[in-house]
Subunit: 185 residues, 2 copies
DNA sequence: CCGTATTAGCGAAGTAAGTTAGACATTATC
DNA sequence: GATAATGTCTAACTTACTTCGCTAATACGG
């Protein structure tokens, strides 16, 4: 000792929850955050490939499948998709218009609220997605191959609780940013 | 019966693994995939906010923190970061040049391979990230608040296995796309 | 009711986040 | 020692978005 090899400067903690600290360190937690990022970038790359196979860009594919799956559990509007994907409504408008032109989705007025526009996937859209399904199955089996049934259940349960928590964090972040802006002004 | 209410057209399966099917349906599995997407979009939005707080765009922030954390476990190069984040090397070059101009990272020649460029985060860069840490802690505690210690461990273990699996899926996807291209030609 | 404020969607225009292509220097291969 | 391959960089381009301003429809306070 006495000789500095590589100082490895201290990295400050980014969580204070006991459940997420191991021996008082958040190293494992940061690994989780990092892993989550790595996984989502890879998943997005796969998504781009899925889209490409049916002639859609990644975002268009994501929107199409989101409309299909969200519509399955209740009426879904332009702004509903926007909020779900955390993008601007204008973007969903533009993309769904293109998808409508291609005959993959339909846009209809909401019967009770004329401002809103209901989205749904056409038969052609469903057929397109159905074409993709066999390939998707092969790739999903590889991508999620290491997942046991128990882990699958845990992941599902966890993620469903994590989404609203992330939304709360987003609200808090917005509130803090707004507070800072006021404080500076 | 006999009266069609809403036909609810069949959605084809996208996995064939028993562990991921519940009563023969992949509905829960698709929920997982969807949830993963929803979570990652929210996480990315939070990341943008973190970046904004220290004057960086989301991607620049992500690259900075990736360099710091990857460098902690061994030498890291431009292409190393590119592969980790699944973006082009050229993009990492451009962004790290900006970060270098701002004095947040340094780029040095690899001593044994003159083509490669080693990246590291400067003291100023570390200080900037350290400034952010307290706010990050607050938000992470909210975002990951619902996570128990057991779930945390499971998630970590699962994600670390899922990343290489996703990489294998990507390779397979690329191979299939290439095969199709040849087949068509 | 009636004005006013909100909310939903749209289109145009701009910005940022990437990509591809090509040049160049360095290293590996034969 | 030539040829190929790898790693980085720059420039030019594309795509994935956002913001802004508009119109139409609903909601709300007097």
């Amino acid at each position: 000792m006495g000789l500095k090899t590589t100082p490895t400067p201290a990295i400050p903690r980014t969580t204070s929850r006991d459940a997420l600290l191991i021996d008082g360190s958040d190293a494992e937690f940061r690994k989780l955050v990092h892993g989550l990022l790595a996984l989502s970038t890879r998943h997005e790359a796969l998504r781009d490939g899925h889209g490409a196979r049916i002639g859609l860009a990644g975002p268009a594919y994501t929107i199409l499948i989101s409309v299909r799956d969200l519509a399955a559990q209740g009426p879904i509007t332009v702004s509903g998709v926007a909020e779900h994907l955390k993008v601007s409504g204008a973007f969903i408008t533009a993309e769904t218009n293109k998808l409508e032109t291609r005959g993959l989705v339909t846009k209809t007025r909401h019967p009770e609220d004329g401002r809103r526009v209901l989205l749904s996937v056409t038969e052609a859209g469903r057929a397109l997605l159905a074409d993709l399904a066999p390939v998707q199955t092969i790739l999903n089996d590889v991508e999620f191959g290491p997942l046991t049934r128990a882990e699958f259940r845990t992941m599902l349960r966890v993620i469903e609780r994590l989404i609203p928590a992330a939304d709360r964090a987003l609200e808090l972040q917005a509130a803090m940013a707004a507070g800072d802006a006021r404080g500076v002004a």
